[in-house]
Subunit: 490 residues, 2 copies
């Protein structure tokens, strides 16, 4: 199963980075064939009998041992798949491959109508999947469970509602405070300028290596949308995009994907291909990515280390800038229409909006044809901004084209958990920012490795929060961190 | 089977272009799994019964129709595979993946001893394969038949002996004549200089497009060793390497791989995945590659078209050069130690040498430990040069690491057939060089398409020569072409 899944991963990775324009249809067929092979292995009666045989075995008496993790997770995956018809598996793989291609075309042409029939096809299939898996009337729950097993839609609504209420007060407060604190001499948009792509690639490669990414076991590539893929025990690939007029685009995409990459490279390879060797959940994966992107990458200490490197890589750019200036800039709160480029506070409003809309789409309360209007209206209400075009609005993300309904919430769950984890790491290790300023990232990486990565799938997201931080998921550390980020120190 | 095979192709392509250093072992396992799946489908009793059912069918009464081609070739592949144990298929896929990786390491370190145990392992497996397939005592024959079915070792020995005899006289004659004709004002090594890789990539991309390569259905990448991969009906990928001090390296690799690419893109896509949609043979594939590389790329007309483009891409380089100067240079005959960089005449001696050595290796008359000495000694005898190191000598090609014994002859068979085909194309179309000078490559491509590409696997190599040129394989057109290439015109 690991050989099948990792082959699927490579074909999907290639699709997003290198595949020629006309080759999508055949790629869809290949991926559908592999998805069916994977399904066949999961529903194979032999697997059922092996799992049954292991049910009362002393081998899994300790619920936290690798064997017990593997048996529990294989059973969960198996139970999911026996409810899904093989035809649906095949069709989902092939339709989402084509839909992703058509999404890219629609985005390039700024033409939502080009994409709409594909979103419709994906929705029909995902609703069929949800109906086959659902335990009650909530069709969103089984899709969420694909990414975040153990978390109910209701728990998520409560967590997000609390956070939304905090942000409603906090965001305007931060905007006002930052306007008040801005120095008259401060230049706006320090990270805008002229940054040739080749030099950006070289800089990103060296940052990744310095932060601990092992290039003998991975790569850094270019893609339309940043992503990370785990293709084998020693093959983790980061992909980011570059904007020659704005260094921020590549830099923060790199730090985010690097977080994913450090997690993948830190998993116990002796368990590769089994749940004990896999990441706890997508939310935990996002937590690690957001931790490196935000807690590390938006800290003042980090910019003390990074700024001279950026200045050396781009002579003439950021001349005379101080670490404080850039640090203040990358922590500036300003509502915008783009999720990936959002500041750390408003980012979560982008997610809450998608969480709402995808629930409505899956429930059938919102039709694909009405999505752009609903999208723009909610942006106006939640963020006070309206996208100038569908390209900048509803077409900005490819998740729904890929059939990934229930995925978006993992970003904000990740933000919540990242703040919890970072608070404990700070208490355990000491002054992390001084270490970053000295280019020392290994202590943090080591802490994450022993506290998170080495556990594989031992814990659920909430279970991990409990085990490492002593509390379940809790948005307070995130709110408290947002309140102080970029603020003048006493 | 086409889905399995094209997935294998992508995994192998990725291995040669992008795979991280430590990831080879897992890639070997993936490829072994896919090779076994492919084998399982070929030896499936259902295929046997379908083929039996079709044996006397009117559907294949016309031996030249697509169905008949498919049945004939599927039967041949099946008969081959039923003789091979599944374990051998698995081991060959995994060992050759690792051996290719270790060959690259050995080449980088100039350390043949590092590679030798891997060559030994590959040889053990290939000899086992040959024994399982052999009809008589000749173990080389079944390996050759993998690439060139229908051609016996003895026929090949005769063809190569004739050519070798001609070259023994011709090469010194060409060297002397070229020395006599060289103008005192001629600068040596016009294609050496300063050619930044990015500009080379841009030039190669535009040449490929102008010559007819469709980038919506393909790509151009970088690899340690130039190669072309056909990953799907609309996904053909060329890979070449660049030398910033020598434009010739990338340029002629491009023209060669482009020939392969134009063939793959010219195959009838309605038969994709079946023999009627596949290239006739590797030798015919090489013929097309060598035709574009040599008959087109080393012609004076072509340089009339290309030279201003090169000069525009690299201001200051080749300043004041005339097409005649570059044309004479790229046709200069000079024995060297490198196959890929060899001139068109001595190239075949590199192949004849490999053909001899690989027969000895497979027969067990030559041991892997004695290979470097034998290699160097035969270079001295046949070409009058001795490699300065194993990196420049026996480690220059990765074919044997990949288990491709019997592949090298296809290059020279390709040269022979290319000259035959080009002579007929010239007679049919008229003055091709005038067309090249005007940037018109479509007439030649159209001719090749209707006479060669569209046939799929209808003909064997020799059958195609007979059908298109009216003779079987014949080295005389090649010898005649070598005699006049780069010579002053009347």
């Amino acid at each position: 199963m690991a050989l099948v899944a990792s082959s699927q991963e490579l074909l999907a990775w290639d699709e997003l980075t290198l595949l020629p324009e006309e080759a999508s249809e055949h790629r869809g067929r290949q991926l559908a064939w592999l998805a069916c092979r994977h399904h066949d292995l999961l529903v194979d009666p032999r697997l059922q009998s092996w799992l049954a045989e292991l049910a009362g075995s002393p081998l899994i008496a300790d619920a936290h041992c690798a064997a017990a993790i593997n048996v529990r997770e294989m059973r969960r995956q198996r139970e999911r798949h026996v409810r899904l018809p093989r035809r649906l598996i095949e069709e989902l793989a092939s339709v989402t491959t084509l839909a992703q291609h058509e999404w890219q075309v629609a985005r390039r042409k700024n033409d939502y109508r080009h994409f709409q029939p594909w979103l419709d096809r994906v929705l029909v299939l995902k609703r069929e999947e949800a109906r086959a898996l659902a335990e009650g009337p909530d069709l969103y729950a089984p899709l969420l469970a694909e990414y975040e097993p153990g978390l109910t839609t209701e728990e998520l609504r409560v967590l997000f509602a609390e956070l939304q209420a905090e942000l409603a007060a906090l965001v305007p407060e931060l905007v006002q405070r930052q306007a008040r604190e801005a120095r008259p001499t401060e230049r706006p948009a320090l990270l805008r300028g002229s940054f040739p792509q080749l030099a950006q690639e070289a800089l990103c490669t060296s940052i990744a290596a310095d932060l601990g990414f092992d290039f003998r076991r991975g790569r850094l590539n270019t893609a339309v949308h940043p992503f990370t893929s785990h293709l084998g025990p020693h093959d983790c690939r980061l992909a980011i995009r570059y904007d020659e007029g704005n260094l921020r685009e590549a830099l923060y995409a790199l730090l985010h994907e690097l977080g994913h990459g450090l997690y993948d490279q830190g998993l116990p390879t002796e368990h590769y291909g089994m749940p004990a060797g896999e990441a706890a959940s997508l939310s935990v994966h996002e937590a690690i990515a957001r931790l490196w992107e935000n807690a590390v990458g938006r800290s003042l200490g980090f910019w003390h280390w990074l700024l001279p490197r950026v200045q050396a890589a781009f002579p003439g750019q950021l001349a005379g800038a101080r670490p404080e200036d850039v640090w203040r800039e990358v922590n500036r709160v300003r509502a915008g229409v783009n999720r990936v480029a959002a500041d750390e506070a408003t980012y979560n409003l982008h997610i809450i909006l998608r969480f709402e809309l995808e629930q409505s789409l899956v429930a059938g309360d919102l039709r694909a044809g009405d999505l752009p209007a609903a999208w723009n209206e909610r942006y106006r209400q939640l963020l006070g901004v309206v996208p100038a075009s569908d390209r900048e609005g509803v077409l900005q993300d490819g998740h729904w084209a890929a059939g990934m309904f229930g995925y978006f919430p993992t970003y904000t769950i990740g933000n919540v958990l990242a703040a919890q984890l970072y608070a404990v790491a700070s208490a355990d290790i000491g002054n992390l920012e001084d270490q970053f300023a000295a280019g020392e990232f290994q202590p943090l990486q080591g802490w994450l490795s022993s506290r998170v990565f080495q556990h594989g799938k031992r814990f659920t997201t909430s279970g991990l929060a409990q085990a490492v931080c002593g509390t379940p998921l809790d948005s307070r550390p995130l709110v408290s961190r947002l309140r102080s980020a970029g603020a003048d120190r006493p």
